[in-house]
Amino acid sequence: MSAAHYISWFPDIGLADRPKVGGKGGSLGELQRAGIDVPPGFVVRTEAFGEFIDALEQRSPLRARVDALAADELDAMAAVSSELRARMQETPLPPALQQAIRDAYERLGESAAPGRVPAAVAVRSSATTEDSADASFAGLQDTYLWVTQADSLMDKIRSCWASLYSLESLSYRRRQGIAESTVAMAVVVQIMVDARTAGVMFTRSPISGDRSVISIEGAWGLGSALVSGEVTPDHWVVAKITGEIPVREISDKALRHARSPAGGVEELAVEESMRREPCLSDEELQSLRAIGRRVERHYGRPQDIEWAIDRHTQRILLLQSRPETVWSNKDNQAAARPTDPLLHVMNVFGGRR
């Protein structure tokens, strides 16, 4: 199999490629195509996953073991889970796949930061299942930050794949009766953003569902501090159309996540003078608003977006965008329209009825 089947670069893919590049990969490609800045990267496609699993299957059965599990046999499931995960971690990737990943990693490093190879990348699982299922069993644990060596990258890719065989994932699939033959996972490899500030934004109010506002949360450093709940983020509400900022809640941000010299992420105390400073300028809030509107327009529905601002270039980059799900299920409950437009005024003049 040629490298072209294992690897896809972001500009070459879009949402339609989800079955092969997963939700995250498809969305990042789609964003880049729409002209939104995302950290450059590639996707290790599901074909690579398939080949790896096939290699495992040749030694002893894997999918059949899972298919045979009953949804309520948790003990058995736990045993199968740890066995399969151990096998996956031990088994090297097929040589052609290894070479394809090494080449892509090198090329990514050269293009993103020439002369500064090896590149620091984030490795993230990109599930091919529906959004809601994605949310419920592909968790935060399959994101690995600041990976800086090709060998380590192989490891992390295997770990992402192995997370499909975690107890939670297995029990979810068994409860849903999902056939193992349909299960696949892509992995996103993306240049790491050394974030000055990172956070999330919803292109509608998470509180009221209002589509005319954008809710932005941010904190110093990498987004992991905010996502894990270790720091109370600053919070703004920005009017989507007018750019007014009716809500500004600046919190005491005592810590931040940063790249650890030892590899991975470490927790640092925020300098006293920075703790109560807003982590975004008004100009940046307006840029985020513009980006949020553009992404929402592109997808035709409100979005839940992760973003970061590069410490060195001060550029805003999107790490992820997915459709907002909570409020969109409540939409489409419009009040009936009176046949006589003037009857609307009875809302005001008619009293409480």
Binding site: S205, S208, S212, T242, I245, D331, L342, V345, F349
Partner: protein
């Protein structure tokens, strides 16, 4: 923080005492507007929005005429389903009002049928009825202008006699006076002919937006509806035009900072042809656009630009400088219109589905249809006509003072309009009988007593509301015109007990955050104290104040909502503004450093 103690209810009217020493001044107000024992059963609130200061005996006519007309339209003309008119009372010079709700469901149904036959006709024929309205107002104004100022010659003019006129000049006093009062009552009928329907259509759209976009700001909705070429912008536009004109004619050097109106007019007269031409242009602007009062027009001392050019002229040096620097833009009507259309389209796009978009289109369409009236009527009614009215009364004051009734023509405003008719008839009789009028001995001590009472009343706080609190405030007139809801009443109740914070809250009228020095401006005379970059803190602003927005960095007012003048002009100038704070002028100290957050409606006192 401790929970503030909450008094359960407002004091009863009967528990509010007339301030000692002012009893006779209080007794001057006619019997129907004195509180009585029966009034304890009803809820009243202090109309500080329209009558923020104690009212002199004459100025009370505004409350009388306005509520007479408002009630007639609501109760009898358009038959609003859930509300009749508004009762008013005066105590210690303060105007309290109370609405009369319709609560019987059958009666509401009956009135709804009538309302739809009447109000819907207005909505459907709005443009033609409004065009007709303007003609009525212009006719009323022309009639008022056509009346000569009152005068009593020693002998009746010979031509009157030879013409067989048959009535003497003293009778003209009565005719002019009664026509003046009649015209004022008539003007208020015109004022309310469309007002509630206009606000109602606006609020319908407002309510829809709040439901569709729960976090949308009031000011954004206001911007979608507000007119672009409304009359309220004209006076300021005229000043810009005059500044431009002066620069073109080469006479702008006469606009020196600190020069008096007289200085400027004199130097223009002495500047030959160019100066003469500028004065002609000034005359064109003055009639009618300088007929705007420095207040809401509800007090006789809210004079107009035409009466006192200093307010208008104070803007000219700054405008002329900008013209020379090429930085005085015309109001770009086309651009503003495009921005408004874009705003409306952008929000429309966010709606959930086509049904909602269709409803939105209907409602914004109706709001735009009614809004020219909502914005425009004030110029004709509260400014132009009211200015003519008070000046006509002032001319009676002049005549009476030349006959010894008063030391000063302005004293006339300390008589009720009933008493003034008596004084005029006193003079008519004295002129005819050839004896001395009784007024000169009678009125001066009474006027002195009433002047003292006004000063005394102004020194005392008055309760924001009186009587039992209704469970719900469902009266659209009260909600629309005064913004009073059950929630705002609860706020009033807790305000007295809350500890003094370093914050003043109001309506978020125009967004942006700035810090600066607060300048408390209580009257037009104090406007000259404003320095470039100050933050204006005032009770209320109106079109007359527009020119000073070029000087200030932000605006804060006691009174007004998101469609108030200060809010509209601040948005046009891109200045932060917080309006309707209730008490900014008393809580903020002159010269204090404050931060104005116009997007959130919060003013923070920094030191």
């Amino acid at each position: 923080m401790n929970a503030p103690l909450k008094p359960r209810e407002f004091p009863l009217p009967s528990s509010v005492k007339v301030i000692s020493g002012t009893e006779r001044a209080q007794a001057a107000y006619p019997y129907p507007i004195q509180f009585s024992a029966a009034d304890d059963r009803k809820f009243w609130f202090y109309n500080s929005m329209h009558f923020p200061e104690p009212m002199s005996a004459f100025d009370m006519v505004t409350a009388e005429a306005a509520y007479c007309a408002l009630g007639a339209v609501n109760t009898r003309v358009h038959c609003l389903p859930t509300t009749l008119g508004i009762d008013h009372r005066i105590i210690n010079g303060r105007v309290y009002i109370g609405g009369n709700a319709v609560t019987d469901p059958e009666e509401i149904v009956r009135r709804t049928t009538e309302f739809q036959k009447r109000a819907f006709y207005y909505y459907e024929n709005w443009e033609s009825l409004y065009a007709q309205w303007k003609q009525k107002m212009l006719k009323l104004i022309a009639d008022a202008n056509a009346m000569a100022d009152p005068a009593l010659p020693e002998f009746e003019p010979l031509e009157h006699v030879h013409a067989g006129r048959g009535i003497a000049s003293n009778h003209d006093l009565l005719v002019t006076y009664q026509k003046t009062i009649e015209g004022y009552f008539r003007m208020w009928h015109h004022h309310f002919e469309f007002l509630l329907l206009g606000y109602g259509a606006y609020l319908t759209f407002f309510g829809f937006c709040k439901k569709a976009f729960p976090e949308i700001t009031d000011q954004t909705i206001a911007r979608m509806v507000a007119g672009i070429d409304a009359e309220i912008f004209r006076p300021d536009d005229e000043l810009r035009r005059l500044a431009r004109c002066a620069v073109e004619l080469g006479v702008d050097a006469h606009f020196r900072e600190g020069a008096s109106v007289e200085d400027i007019l004199r130097s223009m007269r002495e500047s030959g042809e160019a100066g003469r031409r500028w004065l002609e242009e000034l005359q064109i602007s003055r009639d009618p656009w300088f007929n705007i009062n420095v207040g809401d027009g509800f007090y006789h001392y809210h004079r107009s630009w035409n009466d006192d050019l200093s307010m208008a002229f104070s803007a000219l040096p700054g405008y002329a400088r900008s013209v020379r620097a090429g930085t005085l833009p015309d109001r770009q009507v086309g651009k503003l219109r495009d921005e408004r259309s874009q705003l409306i389209a952008d929000y429309r796009e966010l709606l959930a589905n086509e049904e909602e978009r269709a409803t939105y289109d209907q409602m914004i369409g109706l709001a735009h249809r009614v809004f020219p009236y909502v914005e425009g009527h004030k110029f004709y009614c509260e400014h132009w006509y009211t200015n003519l009215f008070f000046n006509k009364i002032r001319s009676f004051g002049g005549l009476l003072s030349t006959h010894g009734f008063f030391a000063d023509a302005e004293d006339v405003f300390h008589l009720t309009h009933y008493e003034l008719e008596t004084a005029i008839i006193d003079l008519m009789n004295a002129w005819s009988s050839g004896s001395q009028p009784r007024g000169p001995a009678y009125w001066p001590p009474i006027v002195a007593e009433r002047k003292a009472a006004i000063i005394e009343w102004a020194r005392h706080e008055t309760p924001p509301a009186l009587g039992p609190i209704p469970d719900i405030i469902d009266d659209p007139a009260i909600v629309m015109l005064w913004g009073i809801t059950r929630e705002s009443l609860d706020n009033w109740l807790s305000a007295g007990a809350a500890p003094d914070g370093n914050e003043v809250r109001g309506f978020a009228a125009s967004s942006g955050v700035v810090e600066g020095i607060a300048r408390i401006v209580r009257s037009v005379e104090e406007i000259s104290r404003l320095q470039q970059g100050d933050i204006l803190v005032c009770q209320v602003t109106n079109p007359t104040w527009t020119p000073i927005f070029q000087k200030i960095r932000a605006a804060v007012s006691d009174i007004g909502g998101s469609m108030s003048h200060a809010a509209i002009v601040a948005r046009e100038y891109g200045l932060p503004a917080v309006v309707g704070t209730g008490n900014a002028t008393s809580k903020i100290k002159d010269g204090q450093r404050i931060r104005v957050d116009g997007g959130r409606g919060i003013v923070t006192l920094l030191h």
